[in-house]
């Protein structure tokens, strides 16, 4: 479904992302781990088109999308969340999701219709909010949400776009411990239906282990390993590079 | 040949004037993040203070040491006003950029109007040494001494600024502050003092531009600062915010371009070219020629 071929991004001499080959099958959940600064977020940026690679290609359903701008990729079904929550702070939570739904359904370039009048958009947005459990916060300004709620809103924004491939950048970062299980189940439900593929960066190993079908390990921009959780966890290099010495 | 020499040297004179205005603007923006529309006021204050001193300050006059004294007084006055503006008006508004725009726009309107209310709208003859009205023959070209004076002053200011930035402690603080203000504080340095200082330096450079501009134009009028300011802004943006060296390069480019196009092209084309240069530079390199680093 999604594939990268020799994806490389250099700044000057330094390769931030170094010749990455990845394959993501429909319905697959691929976890990405790696130390801080390994290039995980940068890899996401290359895949979603926020940065242009210096070398290599990104393929979606076999088609080369390397040259497309972010919004074109999104239209093709590529959705993502951001490591630092990136929601529309001055809009209400509901309005945030409606914007995402509207973006997905088209009809955003309508200058004279009342946005609020579109029942279908509203219904779809409410459904997405329901799904992440933010319904009761609908009228709050997104900027005033607690961190964990913002993470949920991010996922609602993602859901609203009904992407086929989802890239989640540390969805658990900053989510308080008691909220983690809930969010995990939301994320789990993403893949449950409809053959969606998920690529998720996460530092919480327990979450990764619970969700991922396979785990990719990044280090210094390069892919160190990409295999089933058990194999990866047993891999000595990965142990050293990421997990750290015995605990 | 001597036309080229003449145009080059007078273009550099113009560039020098732009540089004097732009360097302070650039530093203030680079370090303190303040888009200072009131910078033209400092120039006006410098010019009028020099003019006033030469008639009223004991020891000061249009000639010789008296002239130097008058200019020194003007520069100090510009610097003083700049510091006052920073302490009273800008300091409470750091990080509220749009409000700063409102305040500095308001200040530039009110300040110029105040100068006009005090000394009238008409240009006044500027007291200046006789030699500044003469020309020097350079390779057959009659180059105005006032232009040469500007060039010398700009080179001295550039050198002094670079030396200051490079070798003094405050220079170090400013260069570091342009890069990362917070970390400077975390080293136990009161970075707000550095803000005040760049305002003082910027005000002094602008006031010097005002005083020497007075020599160059032969007159002083309230609106003089405003008309130079727009080119100074262009120079700052082309050069890259916060970079003194960038401002110097950009000033030279703008000055020469204006001068040569005005001679070889039709009138008005020079200004159009400068504006075009700005657009092209920004479209190709949005951060300007030298980016946001205080170079030493």
């Amino acid at each position: 479904m999604l594939a990268t071929r020799g994806l490389t991004w250099r700044i000057g001499e330094v390769a931030i992302v170094d010749s990455v080959y990845l394959d993501l099958a429909p319905g697959e959940f691929l976890g990405v781990i790696g130390p801080n600064g390994a290039g995980k977020t940068s890899l996401f940026n290359l895949i979603t088109g926020l940065r242009r690679p210096t070398e290599g290609t990104v393929l979606l359903d076999g088609a080369d999308i390397t040259a497309l701008p972010p919004h074109r990729r999104a239209r093709l079904g590529l959705g993502r969340t951001f490591q630092a929550s990136s929601v529309f702070g001055s809009l209400s939570v509901r309005e945030n999701v409606r914007l995402a739904v509207q973006a997905h359904r088209g009809g955003s370039m309508k200058l004279w219709r009342r946005a609020a009048a579109d029942r279908e958009v509203a219904a779809a947005a409410d459904a997405a909010l329901d799904r992440v459990g933010l319904h009761h916060r609908g009228t709050a300004l997104a900027g005033t949400l607690a961190h964990g709620e913002k993470r949920k809103l991010e996922i609602a924004l993602l859901l609203a776009g009904e992407p086929r491939v989802m890239l989640l950048d540390e969805p658990m970062a900053g989510v308080s411990a008691e909220d983690v299980p809930e969010l995990v189940s939301v994320i789990k439900s993403l893949t449950g239906d409809s053959g969606r593929a998920v690529l998720m960066v996460e530092h919480h190993m327990d979450v990764i282990l619970e969700l991922a079908d396979r785990i990719a390990v990044m280090h210094h921009g390069a892919l160190l390993a990409c295999d089933t959780p058990d194999t990866v966890m047993a891999n000595a290099t990965v142990q050293e590079a990421y997990l750290g010495e015995a605990l | 040949m001597n036309t080229v020499v003449l145009l080059t040297l007078t273009g550099l004179g113009l560039a020098a004037l732009y540089f004097l205005v732009a360097s302070g603007l650039s530093l203030v923006f680079g370090l303190a993040d303040v888009l200072n529309f009131a910078h033209g006021l400092f120039l006006g204050v410098g010019a009028y203070a020099t003019w006033w001193a030469s008639g009223n300050l004991p020891g000061a006059g249009p000639d010789g040491f008296g002239f130097v004294l008058a200019v020194v007084f003007g520069v100090l006055a510009g610097s003083f006003v700049a510091v006052l503006v920073e302490l009273v008006l800008i300091r409470p508004l750091y990080s509220r950029t749009i409000e700063q725009v409102l305040v500095t726009v308001g200040l530039s309107l009110a300040g110029v109007a105040l100068l006009q209310a005090t000394w009238g709208a008409d240009p006044r003859p500027f007291p200046r040494p006789d030699w500044s009205r003469d020309v020097t023959s350079v390779l057959g070209a009659q180059v105005p001494n006032a232009g040469l004076l500007l060039i010398v002053a700009a080179v001295v200011v550039l050198g002094a600024l670079l030396a200051f930035l490079r070798w003094t402690r405050y220079g170090l603080i400013i260069r570091a502050g342009v890069e990362n203000r917070e970390m400077v504080t975390a080293l136990g340095i009161d970075v707000r003092k550095a803000f005040t200082l760049v305002f003082a330096i910027g005000g002094a450079a602008a006031a010097l531009a005002g005083a020497l501009g007075g020599v160059y134009f032969g007159t002083v009028s309230p609106g003089q600062g405003g008309s130079l300011l727009i080119f100074a802004f262009i120079v700052v943006v082309i050069g890259g915010m916060g970079s003194v060296v960038g401002s110097a390069y950009a000033a030279v480019a703008v000055g020469l371009l204006q001068q040569f196009v005005n001679y070889y092209g039709t009138s008005g084309l020079g200004d159009l070219c400068v504006v075009g240069l700005l657009a092209v530079v920004l479209l190709l390199r949005p951060q300007g020629l030298a980016g946001k680093v205080a170079h030493a």
Partner: protein
């Protein structure tokens, strides 16, 4: 905790809100007058936020409540530069050396009026810095930059050092070096250290504070914590030992 003497720093009920996020929620702990107190916790629990709140570098719009005292003096109302001059040395997480300045200039910036800078001490610890005096700090390797960041603070006498993840992104050999340096520094100055590398923690820490979701989950003797594998695991998670390579 060294109950015998007064703590050098005491944090009480520290709360930090940034942009609506309640990042720290009533954190209290003390820093012993000798040795290394280490602040542990997973990524994003608020370790950096704690240190920055102590030195008064909470970002704009952030709201800090509670009390932080060094001896009898309350720190929260005082501007950062005063705190630092009073002997609070801070080495930030991402090093923050001034890239455009040379090494010597970086050091010179840290000098203080009326205080003789202890260059001999710093150069004895990091001979590299003396040799590379004229090199631009931006072109130093990560480890060298870290040395500079620490050296810069050591030029002056400090009553307490706050050090945020000094070994992040460093090669194992350099990690060991940095750890050695900190060990020596800690002989004369108490240190509050944020560190993810458990090997380093093990080597240096005398006391430990563990944060979890913006709250203190555990405080006590560091060895006690590290000996109890189960405790460590439950508090710090598996994936916390990131950021170093032992290859």
């Amino acid at each position: 905790m060294n109950a015998s003497s007064e703590p050098v720093l005491s944090v009480e009920d520290l709360s930090v809100r940034i942009a609506g996020l309640h990042i720290l929620q009533g954190v209290s702990f003390e820093v012993a007058p000798t040795g290394v107190t280490v602040l542990l916790g997973r990524n994003g629990v608020g370790k950096t936020t704690t240190l920055r709140a102590i030195v008064g570098l909470t970002p704009r719009g952030g709201e800090v409540r509670g009390s932080v005292r060094m001896g009898a003096r309350s720190l929260l109302a005082r501007p950062t530069h005063r705190l630092v001059r009073d002997g609070l040395g801070y080495v930030p997480e991402d090093r923050c050396v001034f890239a455009a300045l040379t090494v010597a200039e970086n050091l010179r910036l840290a000098e203080r009026r009326g205080v003789t800078p202890a260059y001999d001490k710093v150069f004895a610890l990091f001979p590299e810095l003396e040799r590379r005096g004229r090199q631009r700090a931006g072109s130093l390797s990560g480890g060298q930059q870290q040395m500079l960041a620490i050296g810069r603070v050591l030029l002056n006498d400090n009553r307490l050092l706050l050090v945020d993840e000094p070994t992040k992104g460093l090669a194992p050999k350099v990690v060991t070096e940095v750890a050695e340096v900190l060990e020596r520094v800690a002989e004369s100055v108490p240190v509050l250290l944020v560190e993810q590398n458990l090997a380093v923690v093990r080597r240096l820490a005398t006391d430990a504070v563990v944060l979890s979701a913006g709250q203190v989950a555990w405080t006590g003797d560091a060895r006690e914590l590290l000996l109890e594998t189960a405790l460590t695991k439950s508090l710090l998670g598996v994936g916390s030992g990131s950021g170093e390579v032992h290859a």
